[in-house]
Amino acid sequence: MAEYHRSAMIADSPSGYCPGCLHSLATRLISDVITELGQEDNALNVISVGCSALNLLYWSGDNLSVAHGRAPAAATGAKRANPERLVFAYQGDGDLAAIGLAEIMSAANRGENFTVIFANNQTYGMTGGQMAPTTLIGQKTTTTIYGRDPATTGYPMKMCELISQLPAPAYVARFALNSPKGVRQARDGIKKAFQMQLDGKGFTFIELLTNCPTNWKLSPLQTLEYMNTNTIPYFTPGVFKDITAKEADA
């Protein structure tokens, strides 16, 4: 037996996302966790540009809307000025892994005490499905019409693996939102990251594997299957770094 009641932080109207888009599920998960932690009035959502920014009107918490890719830089300032607030950046893969690569790596390297939630759907959703750094090999997009070729465009960027190599981050984990199990793990992961931030443990990074039914040109249910067969084998879900696990062992 289980109960589920949606967070009061979510607007009582449909989100601006396409049917089946897991961005709205991610926003709902974050809101549920914030409500559970009792941080409704303390949370600050830093958003930059992309479909990820559409959660601006969907949840009722505080927002800081900043330049493309610069959410970690703005979140650094927000958190340093207001250390008691729960600050998190919500970014897509074009935003975080392409345009904002310098900002995310620098913020992670400094070990800033805020959370970055990275929704990875392997495409630029809002601008019409162009290739992102995370686009899979062979995946067709509007800028790689014969499929992504590593000879000219390189390989999909694994952000969790990159960030977990740095000494400063406290918690780095990846979850897939295409199954109830994955959604529940993601919820626990987000809760853990937020709790670690409130405890002052340092930089926490959550990658959520999401979908884009519109630009992948698949039905919502087909995208979940596509994620199982293509996305998850390359972007392996799991916890890549957790300093509290080491403390527990010691």
Binding site: M1, A2, Y4, R6, S13, P14, P19, S24, P180, P220
Partner: protein, 68 residues
């Protein structure tokens, strides 16, 4: 007990796919936005696992324990 806020539904079908008792199906009536929202075919068979609510991107499903 499962309550579906039909006005939020976008008919992605995730709840229908993941319901372990297969008692949800997309109906034949459209909501205001033109989506065929899901209906419950056998409410008594529901085990209130809340998997439908877990997977609903819009949070349109509210699950509470059944009153005995």
């Amino acid at each position: 007990m499962v309550e579906i806020n039909t006005s939020l539904c976008k008919a992605c079908g995730y709840c229908v796919k993941f319901c372990p008792k297969h008692i949800l199906e997309l109906g034949t009536v459209r909501n205001k936005r033109g989506h065929f929202y899901p209906v419950m075919t056998d409410a008594d068979a529901c085990i209130t696992c809340a998997i439908c609510a877990t997977m609903c991107p819009e949070g349109a499903i509210d699950v509470s324990e059944r009153k005995v």
